[in-house]
């Protein structure tokens, strides 16, 4: 059996694959955080809770309404996006004139509420979500076995990430969005409905988080703490990448997932902390982040 630095190649590739799957979640979430931050100037602490909500909605759809994975994949992100519109219109709207730190505090409270409600209703132990039967089994790639569901997560996430990027870079709506991020008052003066753009942006970001939640549901237990523990890592990813560039946040997310996977193989005790350590090192060398601009 071929080995690299004393580690069997199969094990190494397996962990890299897991790392890539995690990286996809980082990318989806940090992408949402970045576009929300660009438009609203708010760091959405509840992003992890929205991700969890997506997973919970998928579970409820199956358990209560008998709607399977594919329906969940469509409906849960839409519902989370709708929830996002309510949050933006009902709560965040009142904070735009204030220090952006208040947005962080409010969304932190929101994360606690969502997490607490879920814990109250379903307990801490987590709910199992069965993998759809179409994804049972694995592809034999010759040098490794790739579980079908993991392959699907990677493909779907990459499609969504780059689709969102293309939407922002190449469409009219994306151009409005970029313009409104740069100078909302000027864009408003041109007759574009900026408040509606803000709502749409938040809804899209929330929907991406919800989608990530549905994708994650069959991979992990659906549990109340799945969101916040993940979002703290994503914050570190965002600090490392800097929030200036959409593509940058996608690539940083994927890259850090891979690094985490590698760490699991070679020094597994550090696999939980490696992203934070990298963050500290990046801050010491390039405080604005790899793709960021000093603001």
């Amino acid at each position: 059996m071929p080995e690299i630095f004393g580690v069997p190649l199969v094990a190494l590739l397996g962990q890299l694959m897991l790392g890539l799957v995690n990286g996809c979640f980082y990318a989806l979430l940090s992408l949402g955080l970045s576009i929300i931050f660009g438009m609203l100037n708010i760091i959405n602490f509840a992003h992890g809770a929205l991700y969890m909500t997506g997973a919970v909605f998928a579970w409820i759809a199956l358990d209560q309404f008998g709607l399977g994975y594919w329906w969940a994949l469509l409906l849960a992100p839409l519902t989370v996006a709708l929830l996002g519109v309510l949050i933006e219109r009902g709560l965040l709207r009142w904070l735009y004139a204030l220090d952006p730190l208040y947005g962080l505090l409010l969304t932190f409270g929101l994360a606690l509420v969502l997490e607490g409600l879920f814990r109250y209703r379903y307990g801490v132990s987590g709910l199992p979500y069965a993998q759809p039967a179409a994804f049972d089994g694995a592809f034999n790639l010759g040098f490794m076995f790739l579980p079908k569901y993991r392959g699907w997560v990677v493909v779907a996430s990459l499609l969504v990430c780059f689709g969102t990027w293309a939407l922002i870079e190449w469409t009219q709506l994306g151009a409005y969005l970029r313009a409104a991020t740069e100078n909302p008052r000027l864009v408003q003066a041109f007759g574009i409905n900026v408040p509606a753009m803000v709502s749409i942006t938040f809804a899209v970001g929330a929907g991406l988080a919800g989608l990530a939640g549905v994708l994650a549901a069959p991979q992990t237990q659906v549990s109340p703490l799945m969101g916040t523990n993940l979002i703290i890592v994503v914050f570190a990813v965002v600090v490392i990448g800097g929030m200036g560039s959409i593509l940058g946040s996608i690539l940083t997310g994927l890259g850090l997932g891979l690094i985490e996977g590698l760490t699991k193989v070679f020094y597994s005790q550090a696999s939980n902390t490696v992203v934070f350590v990298i963050m500290a090192l990046v801050l010491l060398m390039k405080p604005a982040g790899l793709f960021g601009r000093e603001r």
Binding site: L91, L104, L112, F276
Partner: protein
């Protein structure tokens, strides 16, 4: 002025009499929380830096004290000093890294660094992993003060709190504290006036971390155990909430906030309390939307308005 001295005198008297009316352990918990919140307020309320990772310093103080007292037989007094020192050192390192970014990034960085410490506490051997450190002996302070007695320990904790509160009061009202407020109000102007803003921020961060560590260290002696929940992000959120609810940048706000939150948590826990997190989150949202000045800030504003009307 006379009124103020009288006010502090009444509060001191209340503090001395309190253990005869209320369960001392609950009071000590509230005092440790209040000290933690005051230390946090030094950074957020007076320097304008929102750290979302202060539980790391509370936890570092608690773990260092718990470990040294239990495994190496240090006396509780020395243990608390060592815990504070550990938090100071950690504050120096984390402060040096995080003050390189401002505002919202600062909050995210401190949160991430605290999560790093959480995993360190989870995975290193001396912290006991998931179990934490149990059965820390309270022992004797200075050979003859027996801390096993709850009421005796209460007066020690109360003394620690009063000393720290006085220290923070002195810091805020010193020329150094004035510079911190200048940084909070307008960092660019403070720079252009020739202040080395980063050094001031770092010193404020280290002081705040050290005092948070003192709170954690004292807390570990009071409860005779340290667990991971002391260093978790929920704990970082709790201290933000205490300070926000009581009143950012007011002297007494964090104390009022800590007593309110800890009292409320205690009440809710007695009633089963599975909705504690939801209620905490709701208070957070309401504070941000409606009472950004906090309890003490609102009362002070009301007082000023009444006095202002009377003065014409």
């Amino acid at each position: 002025m006379k009124l103020r001295v009288l006010g502090y005198g009444v509060l001191l008297l209340l503090g001395v009499l309190a253990p005869f009316a209320v369960y001392p352990v609950l009071l000590m918990k509230a005092l440790c929380g209040a000290l933690f919140a005051c230390a946090f307020n030094l950074l957020l309320g007076y320097t304008g830096l929102l750290s979302f990772g202060h539980a790391a310093f509370f936890g570092a103080g608690a773990y260092a004290t718990g470990y040294l007292v239990k495994a190496h037989g240090l006396s509780p007094g020395l243990g608390i000093l060592a815990g504070t020192a550990a938090a100071l050192v950690l504050g120096l390192i984390f402060g040096g890294i995080s003050i390189r970014r401002q505002g919202i990034y600062f909050a995210m960085i401190t949160l991430a660094l605290a999560q790093l410490m959480y995993f360190v506490f989870l995975e290193t051997s001396f912290t006991g992993g998931e179990d934490g450190i149990q059965g820390i002996p309270r022992g004797r302070l200075l050979w003859w003060i027996n801390l096993e007695n709850d009421r005796t320990l209460y007066y020690v904790v109360f003394a620690i709190f009063v000393f720290s509160f006085w220290l923070i009061y002195r810091i805020i009202h010193s020329p150094f504290g004035q510079v911190l407020k200048a940084i909070r109000e307008n960092e660019m102007r403070a720079i252009s006036l020739g202040y080395d803003v980063n050094r001031y921020k770092l010193l404020a961060f280290v002081l705040s971390a050290g005092l948070s560590g003192l709170a954690g260290a004292t807390n570990s002696i009071v409860f005779t155990f340290v667990t991971l929940s002391d260093a978790e992000w929920h704990a970082s959120g709790d201290v933000v909430l205490m300070t926000l609810l009581g009143g950012l940048g007011t002297i007494f706000g964090p104390v009022v906030g800590a007593f309110t939150i800890i009292g409320l948590q205690n009440q809710l826990a007695e009633r089963g309390g599975s909705l504690v997190t939801v209620i905490m989150g709701t208070i957070f949202i309401l504070c941000v939307l409606l009472f950004r000045r906090g309890i003490v800030g609102e009362v002070a504003a009301l007082y000023r308005r009444v006095v202002g009307i009377r003065a014409g």
